[in-house]
Amino acid sequence: MTGRVVALVANPTRAVYAALIATLAIGWALVAFDGGTFTLNDLVGIQQRSAALGIVAIGQTLAILAGSLDLSVAYLISLVSLVAAETMAGQSSNILTAVVVALGVSALVGLVNGVVITKLKVHAFIATLGVALVIRGVLDHLYDGPAGRVPVEFQQLGYSRVGPVPVAAILWAAVAVGVWFLLRRTRFGNRVYAVGGDVEVARLSGVRTDRVVIAAHVLCSLCAGVAGLLLASRLGAGAPTVGTDGGYDLESIAAVVLGGTALAGGRGGVAGTVGGVLLLAVLDSVFNQLEVNSFFKDVVRGVVIVVAVAVYARRTGRRAS
């Protein structure tokens, strides 16, 4: 029995789903004890809540797997929401243009991140922090508050459901499956793991490591762009603080490592990240049901993240040294 528990915990992806199920059960019991019920509506709420963070975290997974990380996603999300909402300007005929422009801006930011990291050899932490500051400056300079307007057709993205499943969650699932396919079934995916595992070995075995890192960053920023579009559709407008208010930069990194992806790169994957995001969302929802103080929530989150990573670290055993 204990052996089975150990085996369960030994795989981070399985561990995070075990934790997810346990949290759901405990949460359900606590809520019931509190006199409430966990309804279908709450499940819909959980999906709605997780979609934006989920999509950002999928992108972040790519960057982290490649041995990098991206601190610029939060400001990029704000920027994309504004670019999209202003381009749409309330006209449904502008939706396609707006989506293309928004994703173009995202890809460009990702390209800059990747090039600065690989060609200028700037540490990813500093490179993406610097790019984040540049975007922040641009945002503060150009925008005073919410701007632009999202036509009602585009708002469907953030509000509609297919049966009990919100369209936003379907979008998230699609992005997750797409990136999973990319990582597990394509040569590019193998290279991402190779570069993140050991960049020198990858280079010696003929991988163009710079290209892989740049591509990972472009995809990461595109995911942030999709999240920005989703948030714009939820808010009905673009907002210069929507990304930072949500804390999507550090929170997405937290979700990725919670899902068992190694921060150093090369190990982990999309499935774990999805579990990590859901775990955070379920915690959120349970705390919401119990009307727990938001500061207590931060404490629990911090503990959960550190404990999870400590548990995963045991699995990897002693360090190579």
Binding site: G145, P146, E153, Q155, Q156, R234, G236
Partner: protein, 403 residues
Amino acid sequence: MRRLLVAVAALALAAAGCASDLPPTGASAQPSAAPATSAAASEAASAGTGEQSDFFVQADYDAQLAMRTQTAEGPGDKPWEQAIAPQMVDTAKYKKDGPYHLCFSNAAVNNPWRQVGWTTMQEEVALHKEIKEFTALDAEGKDDKQISDIAELQSKGCDALIISPNTTATLTPAVSGACPEVPVIVFDRGVETDCPVTFIKPIGGYAFGADGAEFLIEKVPAGGKILALRILPGVDVLETRWSAAKVAFDKSQLQVIGVEFTDGDAAKTKSIVSDYIARHGKIDGVWMDAGATAVAAIEAFEDAGVPVPAFVGEDQQDFLQKWKDGNLTAVAPTYPTYQWRTPIIAALKILKGEEVPKMWNLPQPKITQENLGTYLQPNMPLLHYALCGCESMPGFPGKWGGK
């Protein structure tokens, strides 16, 4: 490209008539862009106040300034029940028997003003036996969370929903969506739809800003140098404060030597003011759009060894104490925290079928040299706001951290 296709597919799905939680009135909401056309272009750039804010609306400005002198209706000793120039709406259709379940979607509890207000609201709830349940969700300052919170509360069987929106434009669709389901009460910041049963607010930002500016114009001799400190741009309730002050300064003989953003941070405020003192030598007046960092700004003068000039603060105890101790020339416009009592009272009135004002304008007093003594409460915490209207509540002063 894949994502683009996914997005398009999602839209197609939605268009195909799948279930939608989208508020039905979403499309008819006012455009979120501020009515920039109504903003009078600044002819007084020489006064140093810059362009007029995009948020400035002349009609609202005129109405608020007029309200300052109008008498409020209602019990004089309970300003949170008073209303200025109320236009009553019938609420018979919401009438139902108690006990009631009230719900509240709160933008955040992340600053002392909201902290005092939130405590006051909880104590107000405790006063009413007919409230059997009070469900409150804290959006932690996140628009997206508040949208989800409002949706979640609609499924909780609330009899009335109170909303304190985090942002005006971006919360409008969510509020519009809640209106058909449950009587909605909005307070503090507004939304761009008139679907809520009542919108509760003190007179507003224009009156706040004008109160401070007019005081400086009266106290500071012509040609005097004014430093204006703002928290951050783009928040409607703060933009209106500055825009009204700008109108007043432009008409005056005063010289505005700088308009700076402090992020509401005490250290940054103090640094900015110190820099201005070093550069300009003498400053004759300081205007602020919120008083939370007023004491830090005053300290910059003290530390520089120069007299503290005429000051505009707010009703926080630390400022009032400094004002009395330093015998300052000062005024404190207020944005009273007693407005957190009103939504509970309004909800109960609505559920009992009593009429309420469509726009519930609460009185917005200012603290002057004459009435400073009434509002200074040395037993209360330094960050407490004096106009909580909570002195007669059972939990006072302990619940607010007082002794």
